[in-house]
Amino acid sequence: MTMAAEANFVADPFTPEGDTVIDCKVDKIFYGDFLAVRDSVVPIEKNKITAFIGPSGCGKSTVLRSLNRMNDLINVFRFEGSVMYHGQDIYAKKVDPVVVRRYIGMVFQQPNPFSMSIFDNVAFGLRLNKYKGDLEEKVQKALERAALWNEVKDKLKNSGLSLSGGQQQRLCIARAIATEPDVLLMDEPCSALDPIATRQVEELMLDLRSRFSVALVTHNMQQATRVGDTTAFFSVDISKGGRTGYLVEMGPTAQVFDDPQQQLTKDYVAGEFS
């Protein structure tokens, strides 16, 4: 393999202008013997939305779930590299992944409310952390921020599962922000939602930006352009027989979509990627 081709497989590191809240440097991520992701430097900026795009199997969800150690729940998972969060590597031996997840919350692809009341769903994390203040006020605030309060204020005792899909996803966002995490990881939060609910969740993300830093995985490139401040494009390297994901290019969203530096990115955003 020539040097030029080799260089094409490692993106130039992106240095954001503003503050970085999570500085993720992936060397290698393994599932057992399978090399899932390699050589990706993905800084998550403070109070911005960082969108991860790329074809299926490119490792964008894997990288996202590495940011709060959700992948630790998979036995064969192995992470090489560092994820610096406020000066600490969250993969350091003495770090408790449970505590990491309290600061770096997560919203999943499928809405996953607990089978308890709407109120209890939002209060869950607060009770977990033995919140001493006014629980009801806090729950109301979280639901208001999630743009759900007006729809559910009269039925807080109903099951969280009784809501529609879009409402359930906003409930999950309310649950995630109730504990006031620092960073929100969203793994394709709109892929199970209809366009109207998608728009509501997107507006919510833009609104949340003032308080939280967001990392967002999306299959929908329009969504990345609508809400992403920064976009990271991942792709799959099948040259060595496996299917290894890696970061191709990262930069301000406008640049990635209008003036991409890499041919692969150009093809993908133009829809010519196979």
Partner: protein, 301 residues
């Protein structure tokens, strides 16, 4: 009718198809015969259950729903030619031993199920334990009695406690397997949500998995209790029988199943009637437990 020709030659006479039901056609006959057969077997299968319930209500109901029902439910069993009397000690004994058995097998069973379903589902210990639990479900119940006889009764004598332990041995595998199944049914995304919000594994289990799986777990516990309440063989070796109310756990006690066995073989009309009553009471106790489990097992929201 459409005027468009679909075939080239339109001079063919179109015969009107017969769309009516042909009852005597081969497949129609087969169809009807099979339908009737399934109906028939379904009814046949319910005959034993309905006739048992009918017999219980008619024979046992005369005393239980009669004027002296309070005496039947609370009094001591009658001696030989004595009239009246009741099955009080047996009811207390059965309830007590089922309570002891539940107190032992439910916590053990649920904790074991958590291990099997969540902590180490594919480990060697889990595979072995699961296999043994499955074998134990088909374990002859009299052997549970013999086992407890050897372990407890020989040293400490016949007692309600030994009876409860014997029933616990029988309940344990049912509780473990049902609870494991119920815990496995809790969707992974709910567990993910709990982890994602910063729960430890213990908190995920206590606050999400067990509450969500509760209806299934309670159903398993109920099945186990219903089975244990009707057991007689293991109690023959452990709790024995007594004609008086139990005053401490370490003494023998009566139970409904042994009372039914003893009294149904007696040549006295009164005792045989009481055996029927005891059978009905046993069925009703299991029924009440079932209804309670359904009430408490329902999700609160």
């Amino acid at each position: 009718m459409s005027n468009i020709d679909l075939v080239a030659s339109s001079d063919m006479e179109f015969t009107r198809p017969n769309l009516e039901r042909q009852l005597l056609e081969g497949r129609a006959i087969k169809n009807n015969v099979l339908t009737i057969l399934t109906w028939g077997t379904a009814i046949l299968a319910s005959v034993p259950l309905l006739s048992v319930m009918y017999m219980l209500l008619v024979r046992g109901g005369t005393r239980l729903f009669g004027a002296d029902f309070a005496e039947v439910l609370t009094a001591l069993p009658p001696a030989g030619f004595e009239m009246g009397g009741g099955i009080g000690p047996a009811i207390v004994g059965t309830l007590l031993m089922v309570a002891i058995a539940s107190a032992i097998s439910v916590p053990f069973g649920i904790l074991a199920a958590i291990y099997l379903a969540m902590l180490e589902p594919k480990g060697k210990l889990a595979t072995t334990a699961r296999f043994l639990a499955k074998v134990l479900t088909g374990f002859p119940s009299i052997l549970a009695g013999v086992f407890v006889y050897a372990v407890l009764v020989i040293s400490f004598g016949y007692s309600a406690l030994a009876g409860g332990v014997a029933l616990a041995v029988l309940m344990l595998p049912t509780v473990v397997l049902a609870a494991e199944e119920a815990i496995k049914q809790v969707p992974q995304r709910m567990k993910d949500a709990a982890y994602g919000i910063g729960c430890t594994r213990t908190q995920v289990i206590w606050k999400v998995v067990l509450p969500t799986g509760l209806p299934g777990i309670l159903t398993g516990v109920m099945l186990a209790i219903a089975g244990a309440a009707g057991e007689s063989a293991p109690l023959l070796f452990t709790a024995l029988f007594s004609n008086y109310f139990i005053s401490e756990l370490m003494e023998p006690t009566a139970s409904l199943s042994i009372l039914i066995y003893n009294f149904s073989g007696m040549p006295f009309e009164n005792q045989i009637e009481l055996a029927w009553t005891a059978s009905l009471v046993l069925v009703l106790i299991v029924l009440v437990f079932n209804i309670l489990a359904r009430l408490f097992g329902q999700p609160k929201v």
